[in-house]
Symmetry: C2
Subunit: 215 residues, 2 copies
Amino acid sequence: MTQVRLDISMSLDGFVAGPDPTLEEPLGVAGERLHEWIFGLKSFRENHGMTGGETNRDDEIVAETVAATGAVVMGRKMFSGGTGPWEDDLRADGWWGDEPPFGGPVFVLTHHARERKAMKGGTDFHFVTDGIESALEQARAAAGEKDVLIAGGGEAAQQYLRAGLLDVVQVHVAPLFLGSGVRLFDGIPLDAVTLETERVVASPKVTHLRFRVIH
Amino acid sequence: MTQVRLDISMSLDGFVAGPDPTLEEPLGVAGERLHEWIFGLKSFRENHGMTGGETNRDDEIVAETVAATGAVVMGRKMFSGGTGPWEDDLRADGWWGDEPPFGGPVFVLTHHARERKAMKGGTDFHFVTDGIESALEQARAAAGEKDVLIAGGGEAAQQYLRAGLLDVVQVHVAPLFLGSGVRLFDGIPLDAVTLETERVVASPKVTHLRFRVIH
């Protein structure tokens, strides 16, 4: 049965992006460091059209997510690289490149209607203007038996979490401090969400915390 | 050789205390839930003059900290129960009870000079008015070969972390959201602190993340 999974990298001080994102540095100042643990992994490289790479426990966890995912949902800022004005979205299309790494349907939460945009490698961007539940419904339909991955950014993650729409929360905690930026768990009210620890895996570069949301 | 260890429980959204602390609820609204993992453990109960309790991996980790600690440093708000006015300190003496669980020297950071106060069970409160370095120096001297434990709260932890005075950071992450309160890692600037993951242990109630600070 389809699970709705949040899967995101976070600093020890709780940020999923640094401050002051630009088209050149879409994850904000030092935000890319959150993802350093993943760049050298075999499954990440394969997904990005490269060969080689490390095979280790981190790699297994990435491979597991890739294999389970049938459709992706992301916020507009993640799509457009975290930049402000809507016009940047169009420029930001270049940010994910001609061949984005998703290899399937991606539903982008936005206030601006746009034509569906199919890319090389199977990534197929759909722009959803009627809210997070609609995006999730469309992603569920597209995912078939597979899972829906909520890929970020912080605001989209919070919206799904607060709405009780997630089944699994996986956070990859990088052992560093960003000091400012976008916090992942901000404004999640007490008792709004109940979690059960499902699995914790640690490596030198990152600790993978996986929780099940108790409905 | 003496290590300076931060050892503190934190919610998944980064809080070490809830909002609105009072003398009745010194950890703020729901703040006590951060510590629920510890109350049933044998080593915690022993330390608080009770018998029985669970022996498991969580218990081993608490016992390890208790055995290693030669002196404790805490912030004034932790001592006085998180309440605001200085006058509360005097009332709050009752909060830790006649026999506080520290069993040794405790150095309280404060702006208000007070007489040393020895309690039943070996806890010996010293009030330090000349800053965090002085408190640490006194704690080191008192600890002998053992370690100095920075016990909290959030502000004291941040001060020691920013000043580069910690050797080990151990955070016990409780899988819950408090939504507001006192954040542990707030305003730690990018690149101010470099951590290396030393050990991660997970149980259903809590995940213990231990980092070494690279000096």
